[in-house]
Structures are given as structure tokens and as C-alpha cells.
Symmetry: C2
Subunit: 176 residues, 2 copies
């Protein structure tokens, strides 16, 4: 298991998760609980909808993606803590039998201006099926702690972090 502090991330890094397969029973069970609509609940009824067949709820897909990410062996210290989603799309439906995996690309890394000792990474996550077709694309921000003792200052000085932020981080480091 690799656990990363903010200083261990940089824009351009990519990560790939393991894989999982979703079946019709899982699609229907999730839908019955959270998204009880015909195209997620029943094969026959689904044929007569815009989906033209059974398809997973978008939030089922999003939840399966979360699982793939959370159980991966390479993660932020403290876990995957979402600050928010900037964009999420489902370019095509997830069907029974689809095998999913997720590619994560780090887009941005920066210390938090409001949360001392913490920072944010922005990532693009692309979820692909067994044919390498994208079924979910999102951009998310995650909360990631800075390394105790604060080596981020080195990165901060050579990046776009403002002197005020860098100085605050530096003072924190002194306070430990």
C-alpha cells in the first residue's frame, strides 16, 4: 500500500484501478433502493425507453467507481475525501455484464488557503468498460494532508502558490 501526502502528487500523474463486473441483479437492486425507474429495474420495460435496454443508474456507476478507487493500493493519507465534483457525465450506459475500471489523472495540486496543513488535488477520472469506451467522466477535488514537517514549501516556491500562502505554510511548519 502506498499512502501519499500532498507533496507526493504532481500534475500529470496517472493511476489505474482494478476491475469489477456489474450484473443485472446488482443494477436492479441498486435501482430498487435509490433510483426506481423502469430502465434500471426491468429488462422488458427498459426496451421501451430511451435506454433501449437495462442500464445502471448513474449514481450506481458513480458508487462503483468510488469502490474501485477506495480499494486501490495507492491513496492519499487519510483516505479519499471528496471536496466536490466539477463535472460528471455518463457518455454511454453501463449494461449488465460490463467490466469497469478507472483511470485517474492528476490535473492540479495545491495547498489550501483556508485549511492549514491540508491541500487539494484536482483529478480527472475516466471510467471505461471492457471495450475501453468511457461510461463516466468526471473532474473531482480531493482533500489531501500535507506532510508533517511540511516539505511542500519546496514545491510551493517553484509553483504558482502565492508568497502569502507559502509563508503561512512555512509558519505552520515552524510551529510543529
Amino acid at each position: 500500500m502506498i499512502e501519499r501526502y500532498l507533496e507526493d502528487y504532481e500534475a500529470g500523474q496517472t493511476f489505474t484501478t482494478g476491475r469489477l463486473t456489474v450484473d443485472a441483479e446488482q443494477i436492479k437492486a441498486f435501482a430498487a433502493q435509490f433510483d426506481p425507474q423502469p430502465f434500471h429495474l426491468d429488462e422488458e420495460a427498459a426496451k421501451r425507453t430511451v435506454f433501449k435496454g437495462l442500464a445502471a443508474s448513474g449514481f450506481h456507476t458513480a458508487s462503483l467507481v468510488m469502490r474501485l478507487i477506495v480499494v486501490s493500493e495507492d491513496r492519499p493519507v487519510g483516505g479519499f475525501i471528496g471536496l466536490g465534483i466539477e463535472e460528471m457525465r455518463w457518455p454511454r450506459p453501463v449494461r449488465p455484464g460490463d467490466e469497469l475500471h478507472v483511470q485517474i489523472e492528476v490535473l492540479e495540486v495545491r495547498p489550501s488557503a483556508s485549511r492549514p496543513g491540508q491541500g487539494m488535488i484536482k483529478v480527472r477520472t475516466t471510467t471505461l468498460n471492457q471495450n475501453n469506451e468511457a461510461v463516466q467522466v468526471s473532474r473531482n477535488s480531493l482533500l489531501v494532508p500535507c506532510r508533517p514537517g511540511n516539505t511542500f514549501i519546496k514545491h510551493a516556491e517553484s509553483s504558482s502558490v502565492s508568497p502569502a500562502v507559502a509563508q503561512r505554510i512555512d509558519k505552520q511548519g515552524e510551529g510543529r
Copy 2:
């Protein structure tokens, strides 16, 4: 039950869902399946995390919100079909015992340029707990069918829809 075509929506309309309560067992069960992290799985472990106590997974909250919306008595014809999310944030954690409801505001209504006979509504959904504190805020786009026979042309002429789009819609109407 009220079922709405695109023509039945307009910017500024608001809708409020029913309510549901989430308990600790539901929070842990969802987490075990989709987001197995200590702050979603175990009260004691959660106290030592940034959440300072058990909190629902963000996608559990999103899924509960979906349920509240889907079972409401006022809906688009054909159901709630998400085209995508532009923004989703969780301003505060959902805790065991929280009672949630959702306020939906229509931000924008427009016919689709690429999907004849269909359109899009953009909505802001704000999910509130029993203290009327926002626990989830999002902006989403939904696919909504136009009324057969196409009365939307009337709205289109008085709105910002381009003449070319209005003309295409008009021809569709004639073709039925």
C-alpha cells in the same frame, strides 16, 4: 401524479420533495458496499478522522437525493434521465438520524439542437437536513421530451432559441 413535457417547465419554477431519514446502519451498509472508509463504517474510528464522527458517503447522499426526486409525484414524462452534473458539493456531512429533503429550482429550459423532439432542463438541487442546513448542492441537466404536436414552438419564438432550431422543431411537428 403530474408528468411534464419540456413545455411545462420554465426557469424559476421550484419543487420540493418528500423527506427521508438516514440511520447509522444504512450509512455503514452503503459504505461497506461502495465506499469502505473508516469515517463511513465505524463510529469510533470516525471520531479520529477529519469528519470527527460517522458521516454518510457523498455518493450515499447523492443516491438518497436521487430516491427523493424519483419517487416524487411531479416529474418529466419518461422519468428523470440525467445528462450530466455541472457541480456537486457537500457543504456539511450527513449524520445518523438526519432527515433530508430536496429543493429543486429550474434554471434553464431549452430544446435540444442534436436530439429532435427532446430538450434539456438545467436545475439546481439543494438538499437540506432537519435544521435547514445544506448538505448537498448540485447543478444537473435532465433530458425531457417535447410535447407531441410540439407546442414548444410558441415558447421558442418568444425565447432565445435560434430561428434554425425553431424551424427544425416546426418541421418535426408537421411530420407527425
